[in-house]
Amino acid sequence: MGTPIPLPIMPGDLTAIGPLLAVVIAAAGFLAVDMAFTREELKNRWTFIIGIIGAALAAVTALMLDIGTGESRLILGEALYADLYTVFFDLLFALLMGASLVLSWTAVERARMKPVEFYSLAAFSFAGMFLTSRAADLLSLFLAIELLSMPLYVLAGFATTSKTGREAALKYFVLGSVASAILLFGIALMYGGTGSIDYVELGAQVSSGGRDSPLVLAGLALILAGLAFKVGAVPFHMWTPDVYEGSPTAVTALMATGVKAAGLAAAIRFLAGPMAAALSYVSVMLWWIVALSMVVGNAGAMLQSNVKRLLAYSSIAHAGYILMGLLGDSLGTAAAVYYTAVYVLSVAGAFGVVQYFGDGDRELETVDDFNGAAKRHPWISLLFTIFLLSLAGIPPTGGFVAKFFVFGSAIQTGHIGLALLGVLTSVIGIYYYLRLVIAMWMKDEGRPVLAELSPTSWVVLGLLAASVLALGCMPGWLWLIVQSAVVSLV
């Protein structure tokens, strides 16, 4: 205290947060576009251009990071990490941002939202997502999660035409803020128990065992509860179905892909990184979260007739499968990261397709609304089927390989009961995903209407489907990348 501290910015730090800067600049660009132009077409055109440039720039700057020997580097006064793990998630989020710009445009306009306003809020949320995978201390973690959540509270209630949007926004806001407060209180207790908020320092304190006070244990449990809320795992899942159903579909797509992946990126970094020693304290709690998520998510999805609600419950189940990887060794962590990537690609594709079905203001809501889709629109139904099969975990899609990796690592580390429960609940999963597939291909009384797809949307949907299939047929290359990313975590 007393001595002046120099600004902790080293050369190269700004390159390392390049993706973050690209997205924030794009978000500011959207706001500038909104002020600069008065004609809607001009606003829309520039929104699209700036958004695509921002996403591309984020991907390029992510790839420019000098990984060196593969070890984690601490940047900006040891507040953030820069390593292969952050590059991996940067690329995933940049891809999501591009996909959202192309695929959600129709749904945004259908809900009478202005694209420029929608995408500026979404870009700020993406900035928070880019931060979650980098957080190197508990304060960065808290700020990243708040930054990604707050624009989404607004977006959930953004559609003025929707009867349910405001209720969804309210529920998301109240429950989300309570979860943030719980996370924050957990951080406070953790800080009290150890006198530090740094992951590396905390990890050293926890593994030395000298300080395993009740404060640390309570803090860990509260932080895990806060993170479980963000990824929508049982018993902190209550908001998911209501908020997913009530929000505009373009926003639901963001929640199901970006928010979930960001929450998982933060949880994996927190539990499998330098803090790995702490995992043994909360492994029982994590075991129950995993088991209940798989059961409640799949059983809940089975009872739904609304497609968005069905995908909401299934996302709870997937959170369970992914967190199961954390109970294993480093291979299990790698499986969790692999599963996250496959899940995000499949859900981005599935919601991409759902957003195009519908007529005028109306969207397709129930499973029965999809009756006969394949007869009228065979190609898009084929793409939808690929995404659904991947979510169900049927070969030759990426979903099967991801489940295989996760269950395999669980069995190797002795969690045989959990792996068995996982296999059993995936069978339930196949039932409700196939219900949608059967509605599309085997029933023909319905007449679902499809909005017009631009050539770009076809390309993006095709690429998503191709990558889902590629991850199923040739999992080796991504598996190797993911493994070295996980090695850089510790």
Binding site: M1, L139, F142, L143, E146, M150, Y153, V154, G157, K163, T164, R166, E167, A168, A169, L170, K171, F173, V174, S177, V178, S180, A181, I182, L184, F185, I187, A188, L189, Y191, G192, G195, S196, I197, P241, D242, E245, G246, Q304, N306, R309
Partner: protein, 100 residues
Amino acid sequence: MPAPLEYLAVSCILFGIGIAGVLTRRNLLVILMSIELMLNSANLAFLTFSRLHGQLHGQVIAIFVMTVAAAEAAIGLAIVVALFRQTGSVRIDEATRLRG
């Protein structure tokens, strides 16, 4: 100086009151206040621990949290106003359209 344990106890009690408020009260404005109470109880804990460890970390975090709480209150009030325009009420019982 009184023992920091007393401050910690106050902070825990405030957090409990906050949670109880969110769970039991039906008025949205009271729920918003309860959320603020939870965030500020964490602030009090940070300040206590900061003093206990003889560091500045906790105090810096508390300033960050105050900023976040202000942003959160702004969004929360905006959502309550939007809901009030739709239903004409600030009671949470009006928001029961989504279920199942």
